[in-house]
């Protein structure tokens, strides 16, 4: 789904499942909540946010780098795999890249399912695998202004 497209309304029972993933360079717009669904009793939302320290050292911000083309592809195939593996109805994911200020969301995931158990399991799996295989990396912007890969942040 392209940004700016009309958001689908799900007030009808649906056999079709929706999976949507995006990598966006700007602040994440959360997926809209929805009180018109008849079938999905569980809506689970995760926001991963930038913390003020990296490897124990204060930072100003993070800059997320991604392998354009491959990151989108890996993210989408992970989402498809998660849909196939767990009894969930819809999975929406936005991952932000570029410079992100402390406190802001780098990752936003919403999972809709009939029951909470599957939603929680799917969320756990999806994020764990994302952190394992989607080619995205963090660069730390240090207080000095220096920009280094996050593993290269060392305590003074």
């Amino acid at each position: 789904m392209k940004m700016g497209m009309k958001w689908p309304l799900f007030h009808q029972s649906r056999a079709d499942k929706v999976v949507l993933t995006e990598i966006v360079p700007a602040p994440i717009v959360p997926f809209p909540s929805d009180n018109t669904r008849r079938e999905e009793g569980a809506e689970l939302v995760f926001n991963g946010r930038v913390r003020g320290t990296e490897q124990g050292q204060d930072i100003l911000a993070l800059e997320y780098e991604h392998y354009e083309g491959m990151a989108e592809q890996e993210l989408q195939s992970l989402a498809d795999e998660t849909m196939a593996k767990f009894l969930i109805q819809d999975l929406f994911c936005r991952h932000r890249v570029g410079r992100i200020t402390i406190g802001e969301a780098s990752l936003h995931v919403a999972i809709w399912s009939q029951h909470r158990k599957e939603g929680l399991q799917a969320m756990t799996y999806f994020i764990r695998e994302l952190k394992e295989r989607v080619p995205i990396w963090k660069w730390a912007i240090l207080v000095s202004g220096e920009r280094v890969p996050s593993e290269c942040v060392h305590r003074d």
Partner: protein
């Protein structure tokens, strides 16, 4: 033949570039290219585990390359 190496994160930091263009001899594999990348980095990639992607797909074993291939050596990812 000629291939492109895309560099990210620690690889980019070590090589100070986001892309290399390399001439290969026929029969040279991804393992040979990784070796060249590691040499070029001096010791800066010592101890860094790199996964290999060819044309944006992870590959598990070293493989032959073709003219125009895009190769990347993927340091541990950190999305989320």
């Amino acid at each position: 033949m000629k291939i492109t190496v895309k560099c990210f994160s620690q690889v980019k930091y070590a090589l100070e570039t986001d892309e290399l263009s390399l001439e290969l001899n026929p029969g040279q594999t991804t393992a040979d290219v990784e070796e060249r990348v590691r040499q070029r980095a001096g010791k800066k990639l010592d101890g860094v585990l790199l996964r290999t992607a060819v044309n944006r797909i992870y590959v598990k074993e070293p493989r032959d390359l073709e003219d125009g291939d895009e190769v990347a050596f993927i340091p541990p990812v950190q999305g989320g």
